[in-house]
């Protein structure tokens, strides 16, 4: 089992499997890129509406090809049908959002459920006819790469490459649209058409991905890798590149895992691989991850307690807080019975001085002080130049001890 997986991972499991793997990787990369822009535009779930609304087109195309040729499984025709009905669904989502008072969520929900339901009705029609290859149609619900023909894999890979190139060409325009549509408009961009372009690219990704992950799960490829990538960087272009990378990685892992055993569905495995990558990012990203946030919170708390404890020491006030006492003891500022050590007194004097400097700074330069995060906890020497500190110190009113 492990050996089969290893052979799939190293592309030595046959030409067809390798081609499918590469196709899925390219597709997932394109989905990650397009999804990043859509995520930044805050319309992540539009792809859900698109993917569900492909079903009636798929079913109709299957019906037509089945009646015409006896077998409905003609991938190009099915994809064309899917694209046509997805375009209609997309247009309806846009129009409902623009022309009526309904929110985009209601438009998405209405379009996805109605189109999918109509597709289901069409499928029951197909089931009553004697058209061959009916089981091929349910493969579009949850994805099936196992029985994929060579020509189909090639078509998917070629389309994915085309999409990647298109995204590379238009990346700057799309980015401008996502961050500041009004500015883009003043710069002479037609934002309506850019929006359309973005949605068309999204639609193309979804339609091509149907065969790989199935129409319910292709949404995941456009949402999960971008969300995961967002944890690692604040720079949009890096995020797009990272989303493409994470997408390709999930495609790679998913397809190779599904070739381990007969009958393992590809789509769910790709999605779960993507989710695993997301989970790792969510927990362990050094910038926005949960673990990093927890650590940062702990550090801040310790610093606040330490500073307040030292100030209390300097003012000769009793300390009752357990955490404060523990922190002071650990640094040797107080003895076990709570009495300050000489080192602790010196530290307390420093802390008090620091506090007075910060207070003066905040009074003199309130605007600058607002821009500094947690001003007053960072040592002032790390923030201001030596000259500025000297100037501040010269202005400090004399303390009682100095007198």
């Amino acid at each position: 089992m492990m050996e089969t997986w290893w052979r799939a991972l190293t592309f030595t499991l046959g030409y067809n499997t390798s081609l499918v793997t590469v196709g899925a990787m390219l597709l997932a990369a394109a989905a990650g890129m397009v999804g990043s822009f859509v995520l930044l535009r805050k319309r992540a779930l539009v792809s859900d509406a698109i993917s569900h609304s492909t079903l009636p087109g798929l079913a109709l195309a299957f019906l037509v090809m089945g009646v015409w040729q006896g077998d409905g499984r003609v991938l190009p025709a099915l994809l064309a049908g899917a694209a046509a009905s997805a375009a209609l669904g997309l247009w309806l989502v846009q129009r409902i959002g623009e022309r009526t008072r309904l929110g985009e969520d209601a438009a998405i929900g209405a379009v996805l459920s109605t189109f999918f339901a109509f597709g289901v009705v069409l499928i029951t029609v197909i089931q009553t006819l004697s058209v061959r290859g009916q089981s091929g149609l349910t493969g579009y619900l949850v994805g099936a790469t196992a029985g994929m023909l060579y020509s189909e894999a090639l078509l998917i890979a070629a389309c994915a490459v085309g999409l990647l190139l298109a995204l590379l060409v238009w990346r700057r325009d799309l980015l401008l649209l996502c961050f500041d549509a009004d500015f883009a408009r003043t710069q002479g961009f037609d934002t309506g058409r850019l929006d359309l372009l973005l949605l068309l690219l999204l639609m193309a990704v979804v339609v091509i991905g149907l065969k790989v992950t199935g129409l319910i799960l292709v949404v995941a490829l456009t949402i999960i890798p971008p969300v995961a990538a967002r944890f690692w960087t604040d720079q949009p272009m890096r995020m797009v590149a990272l989303a493409a990378l994470l997408g390709a990685l999930s495609g790679y892992l998913g397809v190779s895992l599904s070739s381990v055993r007969e009958g393992l569905p590809t789509g769910p495995l790709i999605v779960l691989a993507a989710f695993t990558l997301f989970l790792v990012s969510f927990l362990f990203s050094p910038r926005r991850g949960v673990l990093a946030s927890l650590l940062a919170y702990r550090r801040l708390r310790q610093r606040v307690h330490l500073r307040q404890g030292l100030l209390a020491l300097g003012r000769d006030e009793p300390i009752f807080d357990g955490l404060t006492l523990k922190l002071l003891q650990r640094r040797g500022h107080v003895r076990r019975d709570g009495v300050a050590t000489p080192a602790g007194l010196a530290a307390a004097r420093d802390a008090e001085h620091e506090e007075r400097l910060w207070a003066l700074y905040r009074r003199r330069y309130p605007d600058d002080a607002l821009h500094r995060e947690h001003a007053g906890l960072t040592p002032i020497g790390q923030v201001l130049s030596a000259d500025a500190i000297m100037a501040l110190e010269a202005e400090l009113p004399p303390t009682e001890t100095a007198r």
Binding site: A110, T114, T128, V142, I216, R288
Partner: protein, 307 residues
């Protein structure tokens, strides 16, 4: 007539009850722009049911509903966790969670699919409205015959209980519910607990979705959460009237959709019947389309016109 009693009365009644229940809650979801939570919850019912089957080994209704309920709760909690801790936008967090859980459900299902269990993805999506046959319902008298009534498909009772719970919730909680839907900040300042109301609403959505799921599948559930309420929103500016419209639309969609699925092919000369659940949802969508085109209150008011 007898044929109608036996084959159509129960499915039609179940469809009407479920449509009205979902549409009632849908009013609040549409107002709060949370329509897609219904979508998410009905997707994760599948993994819930599969996991409960793997644990208990039965397809008993109670175990299934419990599994789906737990899955719904897990989903809501996960969405909130990712949204708050990861600072991810709400709809994206939703997309991450429900697609992953659905993928898990499909994977588990296929993994154990070889066991010949009667449980498949299509069934979960399309439901099985047509199979709710009332064998004892052979004549009008059966409606008053306790022996015959005891033979009613259990899905009817579950749908009715779910509906009652939802109606009771809306009636009891109507003031905080309305307040939290229109102005959560004000509701918070009035100590109306908008967060608690949110959680209760989501729980009730899960109850409705699960009660409906077994009989009609998840597609019709999503359609009924969104379409009638959205259409009603375009008909009036008053909440009471909106709820009334949505109930009317829901009943109309259920009746027309059911009849179309059963009868329309016969008019065209085919001896088949179409998916009733799919047809009901389609009709609901068509009603919304009509409301979008002709509803008296369809336009946005105020100056915030979209370009």
């Amino acid at each position: 007539m007898n044929e109608f009693m036996m084959f159509s009365l129960v499915p039609l009644t179940v469809a009407i009850i479920i449509s009205m229940t979902c549409a009632l809650l849908g009013n609040f979801l549409v107002l709060r722009r949370q329509s897609l939570i219904g979508d998410a919850i009905s997707h994760v019912a599948l993994p819930g049911i599969v996991v409960s089957f793997l644990i208990t080994g039965t397809l008993a209704s109670l175990a299934m509903m419990l599994g789906a309920g737990v899955a719904a709760l897990v989903t809501v909690v996960l969405i909130e966790l990712i949204r708050r801790l990861g600072r991810v936008e709400g709809s994206a967090a939703m997309g991450v969670v429900f697609t992953s859980l659905f993928a898990l459900g499909v994977l588990l299902l296929e993994w154990h699919g070889a066991g010949g269990v009667h449980l498949d993805v299509e069934h979960a999506l399309y439901g099985n409205l047509e199979s709710l046959i009332w064998f004892e319902g052979s004549s009008l008298g059966a409606l008053f015959d306790p022996v015959a009534l005891a033979d009613l498909p259990p899905q009817l009772g579950r749908a009715a209980w779910g509906g009652l719970v939802v109606v009771a919730f809306v009636v009891v909680m109507r003031r905080p519910l309305v307040l939290a839907s229109f102005d959560p900040d004000f509701a918070a300042s009035m100590r109306a607990r908008p967060a608690l109301v949110d959680l209760l609403l989501v729980t009730l959505v899960a109850v409705a979705a699960i009660a409906a799921f077994e009989a009609v599948g998840s597609i019709i559930v999503i359609a009924m959460f969104v379409c009638p309420a959205a259409a009603a929103r375009l008909m009036t500016n008053r909440l009471g009237a909106q709820i009334a419209w949505s109930q009317g639309f829901a009943v109309a969609a259920a009746v027309v959709g059911y009849l179309l699925a059963g009868e329309a092919p016969r008019w065209l000369g085919f001896e088949v019947s179409l998916s009733a659940a799919g047809m009901i949802a389609t009709v609901a969508g068509l009603i919304l389309l009509a409301a979008c085109l002709f509803g008296p209150c369809r336009a946005r008011t105020g100056s915030a016109q979209h370009r």
